[in-house]
């Protein structure tokens, strides 16, 4: 009884987190820019692929510079897109017009961004428009959209004298929130010039974003994250959905940093990022169940599990494994709880150490959309070496599941025999 009570409480908490409008605005807003990131990732991968004959070829025919253009205006400016969509989504959740809120957020973000002087001309450096500006984008997106909703709800507005045509006064009413919010952020921007940081970006990056990324990009965070996601799943809660705001706001910028480094021809800084999680932790879906699906589809003795394996295998290649999670089931099933946690732990730990010791190179860090198939994602993130490691992890996770699955399979065979 205590158990179900605990489970219900946890379900409530999970529900609260995943439906919290601020966290949801962050994850929905960041999800909205995935298209931008993918264009940028492919641009970087195509121009930076470390294969000498290919590099000679694209340099000689003169298309290398063209291949680099999309990355410059996508991944390296991702904070600009993100701030708009985070505000857009938050205002939308209050049933207010998202595009006005997004536009105001974008202005506010730029007001906070420092320019430098190049000879006589002011220039806007890319430094804080990309990954390094993402936390400010999150903060500004949420704060400005919340202020927008507040101002619109309070009905703060400019009183027009009688006789002014309604269309004209409407235009001014729409301007009020924009003026208040942009002035507010301009004052903040101005106040930061008196601090040693000089601007808000420098402050947020060095005091919030960098420490959180250092913490979140480490080995133990990777393990803790894996445990939380899969622990929640075992209780029937979509673990990934609950932790999505953290996953996206910490691990996505880490991947963008890798792509930036790749574009600049530097060494990749981060082992852990959303690309890594996609290739190894979610190998076949939560629980790294691709190996299990293969075992079931080809080697299960019972009809029941063989059929289920065949249903589950195609989806598993694309990272969709609900048929296994609910059909086996894995949820609330003591037989499979251990491998369901152990398999993804193994699947992230082994590649982590292969990368930290420099035996294989780190993943490129592209944030690929949900449903990008296994094998293909490994090739995109790290070529054929990574593909081999991924296949190795399918075997390792399969071996972890096998003894536990065999117990269930034997029981099912006996049940089927006695039913005949």
């Amino acid at each position: 009884m205590a158990n179900t009570n605990f489970q219900q409480k946890l379900q409530k908490v999970a529900g609260k987190i995943s439906s919290n409008r601020y966290l949801k605005a962050v994850s929905d807003g960041l999800m909205s820019v995935v298209a931008v990131l993918i264009i940028g990732a492919f641009s970087t991968l195509l121009s930076g692929m470390a294969f000498d004959p290919y590099q000679d070829f694209i340099t000689n025919i003169g298309i290398k510079d063209f291949l680099e253009i999309p990355a410059q205006y996508t991944t390296e400016m991702v904070a600009l897109y993100a701030v708009f969509f985070i505000a857009f989504k938050l205002a939308g959740s209050f049933e207010k017009e998202g595009s006005s809120a997004g536009l105001i957020a974008l202005m506010s973000f730029l007001v906070l961004t420092p320019t430098t002087m190049l000879e006589q001309d002011p220039v806007l450096p890319f430094q804080f428009l990309g990954a390094q500006g993402l936390f400010v984008a999150i903060i500004v997106g949420l704060v400005s959209a919340r202020l927008y909703v507040l101002i619109v709800n309070k009905g703060i507005t400019i009183k027009m004298p009688a006789g002014v045509p309604p269309t004209v006064s409407k235009t001014f009413i729409g301007l009020v929130p924009a003026i208040i919010i942009v002035v507010f952020f301009t004052i903040i921007s101005f106040l930061f010039t008196f601090t040693p940081f000089g601007n808000m970006h420098e402050f947020v990056y060095s005091f919030i974003q960098a420490p959180m990324q250092n913490l979140g990009g480490g080995f133990w965070s990777l393990i803790a994250f894996t445990l939380v996601v899969h622990g929640l799943w075992l209780l029937g809660i979509h673990g990934m959905l609950v932790v999505l705001p953290i996953y996206l706001s910490i691990w996505m910028p880490l991947g963008v940093e890798n792509l930036d480094a790749l574009a600049a021809g530097e060494e990749l800084p981060n082992i852990v990022n959303t690309g890594f999680a996609h290739v190894f932790m979610m190998l076949g879906g939560s629980g790294a169940t691709l190996g299990l699906a293969i075992i079931m589809a080809f080697w299960a003795r019972s009809k029941r599990y063989k059929t289920l394996g065949k249903i589950a295998l195609p989806g598993s290649i694309f990272g969709i494994n609900e048929p296994l999670i609910f059909g086996l089931p894995i949820v609330l099933n003591p037989y499979l709880a251990i491998p369901f946690v152990a398999a993804p732990i193994a699947s992230v730990t082994i590649p982590y150490f292969l990368m930290s010791t420099g035996i294989i190179s780190k993943v490129a860090g592209a944030h690929l959309p949900l449903g990008t198939p296994a094998f293909f994602n490994a090739v995109v993130q790290g070529g054929f070496v990574l593909l081999i490691v991924q296949i190795l992890m399918i075997i390792v996770t399969g071996l972890i599941y096998y003894p536990f699955f065999r117990v269930l399979d034997r029981q099912a065979v006996e049940q089927e025999k006695s039913a005949e």
Binding site: K12, G236, L241, I311, I320, F326, G327, L328, P329
Partner: protein, 104 residues
């Protein structure tokens, strides 16, 4: 016409079940529309829905959705049985959904 709306996290695994349900629906005499959606775009589909079914992985949303769309004037908001969901038993889920609509 009867309208069934399914919701899961990203609308992906649910769309597999929807395919199976559509196949089962072809055998019926009445016209049945079945759609999958993710939690995010539920608003654009909910207007015409006669029943709202949740994937078992988002069962914790039931309370919230019942408040918003269910209740006395609303539509039935139910969680799909997890084994039916996992084995993608489209026919069973379809018949259950139709029962929910006729009993509403």
């Amino acid at each position: 016409m009867k309208n069934i709306l399914l919701v899961c996290a990203a609308g992906m695994s649910t769309s597999m079940l929807v395919d199976k349900m559509k196949k089962a629906a072809e055998a019926k005499d009445e016209e049945i529309k079945i759609e999958a959606s993710s939690g995010g775009d539920i608003k654009s589909h909910i207007e015409e829905a006669d029943v709202l079914l949740l994937g078992p992985q988002v069962s914790y949303l039931q309370e919230d959705y019942t408040k918003q769309y269910g209740g006395d004037n609303g539509i039935p908001v139910e969680v799909i049985d997890s084994l039916d969901y996992g084995t993608m038993n489209g026919e069973k889920v379809l018949n259950w959904a139709l029962d929910l609509i006729s009993n509403a």
